[in-house]
């Protein structure tokens, strides 16, 4: 047991050490990408109408008048200290955007993930278990079609049907104005805020606003899960130990549920981690469709305003989130599966 513990720690340390070059490369890519961009970020973000003196002053304040390598070092130092820069138009620190809009995205993606996992695992397991039966064909077809459906189209149709035609659910925003006014901000994750306040009316309203966006994003993500989990189950069912379990006379039901499914689901944790990038991309579309004030929504706004500083800050945050999630997922994977070691 001691040896096992050591190797897990070693794995964790090696994995963490590998994060450093990855993050450095991502940061450098973002920096270079934003610098090769044509045009002058400051005057562009001010709409090109500001007097030169003002532009120069802002440039000086933001350090855009310094040589590139100085800017690069400063940028790395700032990111290292958790300073992601300041948006120019509308002016606010990027960290503030993350705190306010990032939590909105977090809440949305968490719910979407729950839906994606529930639907994806259930259908994927069934399709893999009953390979080449109508269950399998149906499950696969559902997976393919739902994945082929653009998030914004599914969202639009959901809005039309549940929002406009049936009138059951709200189609935009995180909460109704009344709830927004009564809800106090603790975490800015509305579900939790409402529970802390024991404000049940607000909780109901928040959840009603959540249904359409979360299902839209969750179902589309489930399409990927179905495909991957199905293949995993098929592969596991062919393994020798399944044959061995059957040979020992264990009934088929137990073989499938206790031996096959459990092992088929271990790699799924990694798969889920890999989908975080996809989910974040999807969140941008979901937020636009449902007017959800998340970080993707904000990113598009700043792109619209040609605010390079904000765009750079927000993509750096996106990149860091993706890296952080992949590290956590690898840790969990290594913890569960002792074969995963360097």
């Amino acid at each position: 047991m001691a040896a096992k513990g050591t190797s897990l720690r070693q794995y964790a340390l090696t994995r963490l050490a590998l994060v450093v070059p990855m993050v450095l490369i991502l940061l450098t890519l973002v920096f270079l990408l934003m610098r090769v961009a044509p045009g002058d970020p400051v005057s562009a973000s001010l709409g090109g109408h500001a007097p030169p003196a003002v532009i120069n002053q802002i440039k000086h304040k933001l350090g855009f008048d310094k040589p590139l390598y100085v800017q690069y070092v400063q940028y790395l130092g700032n990111v290292g200290r958790g300073n992601f820069g300041t948006a120019i138009n509308p002016a606010q620190p990027v960290s503030e955007i993350i705190k306010v809009n990032g939590t909105a995205t977090l809440e949305l993606t968490l719910y979407a993930m729950i839906i994606a996992i529930t639907v994806g695992v259930a259908i994927g397991l069934l399709a893999g278990r009953f390979r080449d039966t109508p269950v399998d064909s149906g499950g696969r077809l559902f997976g393919i079609i739902i994945y082929a459906t653009p998030i914004f189209f599914l969202g639009l149709m959901a809005q039309l049907f549940f929002g406009v035609y049936l009138g059951w659910l709200p189609v935009s925003g995180r909460a109704s104005p009344l709830t927004q006014a009564t809800l106090t901000t603790h975490t800015n994750i509305y579900t939790i805020d409402a529970i802390i306040d024991r404000n049940w009316a607000a909780l109901g309203d928040v959840l009603r606003h959540m249904i359409l966006p979360a299902f839209t994003l969750g179902l589309v993500t489930a399409g990927v899960f179905i495909r991957l989990i199905r293949i995993n189950v098929i592969r596991t069912m062919k393994d020798d130990y399944i044959e061995a379990a059957r040979a020992r006379g264990i009934n088929e039901r137990s073989v499938v549920y206790h031996h096959a499914f459990r092992n088929a689901l271990v790699p799924v944790i990694t798969i889920i981690g890999l989908q975080v990038a996809l989910l974040l991309g999807g969140a941008v579309l979901t937020e636009t469709t449902f007017n959800w004030p998340g970080i993707g929504h904000e990113l598009l706004l700043y792109i619209e305003n040609r605010d390079y500083a904000a765009v750079q800050g927000i993509i750096v945050v996106f990149a860091l989130v993706v890296v952080a999630v992949s590290v956590v997922i690898d840790f969990v994977g290594a913890f569960i599966d002792p074969r995963i070691r360097y």
């Binding site: 990855m22 490369i25 890519l29 090769v36 998030i151 406009v164 189609v171 469709t289 993706v322």
Partner: protein, 334 residues
């Protein structure tokens, strides 16, 4: 002189035909769901390709036509005999835009596919074959790019290019290309690494073949088999990416061509008044085309990939004692 040339030609024909037959054999041998997926996917995809090619002939109006014979089309008219799928707020005929849209999507996706293949495949070949420092650096960069959400990468590229190149087919294609290069690079590189150690490659090296000859003659054709299914699945993905860019306003400009994603973004404001036809039809077109490409790609994948392949039942009789899995009823491929 004429006779040897003639025989030579016959010989090449003879030697090529069996090779082609061997290459398509798995497709002919495909059975069951695989076969259905393959053919349904091929049918849907070719229908859209035909629609794209014949758009000027089959479409009743041009994609940016809002009047005919001096009279303006009605705004937001419901589907009717005149306008099969209704009209938009700017009086465009939705049916015509759906047809012309196929042309735009397929054009952009083809361009980006060719570009990302012609950059990603050679890079993967070189990086995988020569290994060393270059490989390590390329892998780090490509992994970093892969870690990044595709859509965000494409948005940022489109945003950066829109100032310089302008928004259009080329910008959209480049944005999609950049997002997919790392994928091809990674798949090709990993495959090259496993093939590099095979004995036939070693034999070629031992016989003194130069590295590029080895890559061209031995490695390339072994690796390239993976590309058709991957490229087909990526084409499906690329269409989703292009329509997403269009939806967010970073894709094809409305004056340059009809684009389904852009049309849906226009339809969002119609939805609140219960107008469904401006969004439904372009959306269904996306779903159908992407489904078709995915079915084709998955079908190809399972047909070519021996692990997943299922062949037609051969007449091999197993004795009664042969282990027959309970669930599997068909004969497995190797």
């Amino acid at each position: 002189m004429a006779v040897p040339a003639e025989t030579a030609r016959i010989e090449t024909r003879r030697s090529i035909l069996p090779r082609v037959q061997r290459a398509v054999a798995p497709i002919r041998e495909a059975r069951g769901m695989q076969r259905t997926m393959l053919w349904v996917g091929a049918a849907i995809t070719s229908a859209f390709v035909l629609m794209a090619l014949l758009a000027p002939l089959v479409s009743p109006y041009h994609f940016d036509q809002y009047r005919s014979g001096g009279t303006r089309f009605p705004q937001l008219a419901a589907p009717s005999a005149q306008h099969l799928m209704g009209t938009t707020v700017t009086s465009y005929d939705v049916f015509s835009r759906v047809i012309w849209g196929a042309q735009t999507e397929i054009k952009v996706v083809l361009i980006s596919l060719v570009m990302s293949l012609s950059i990603g495949v050679p890079l993967g070949l070189i990086s995988g074959y020569f290994a060393g420092k270059l490989d390590r650096v390329l892998v780090l960069i490509m992994d970093a790019m892969l870690a990044f959400p595709f859509l965000l990468l494409a948005i940022v590229i489109a945003f950066l290019l829109s100032d310089k190149v302008g928004q259009g087919i080329l910008t959209a294609a480049i944005a999609i290309t950049v997002a997919y290069i790392p994928l091809y690079f990674r798949v090709i590189r990993n495959h090259v690494i496993s093939i590099r150690e095979e004995s036939f490659v070693e034999a070629a090296r031992a016989m003194g073949a130069r590295p590029f000859t080895v890559i061209r003659k031995y490695v390339f054709f072994n690796v390239i088999q993976n590309v058709p299914p991957l490229a087909t699945l990526n084409a499906a993905d690329a269409i989703l990416l292009l329509t997403a860019l269009g939806f967010l306003g970073y894709g094809i400009q409305p004056t340059q061509g009809a684009e389904w994603g852009y049309d849906i973004s226009r339809a969002v404001s119609d939805a609140s008044s219960g107008i469904w036809w401006t969004g439904l039809f372009p959306g269904l077109a996306i779903v159908l085309l992407v489904t078709g490409l995915t079915l084709l790609g998955e079908g190809l994948n399972e047909t070519i990939n021996p692990v997943l392949r299922r062949r037609a039942r051969t007449n091999v009789e197993f004795g009664p004692s042969s282990p027959s899995p309970v669930i599997e009823t068909e004969t497995e491929g190797p």
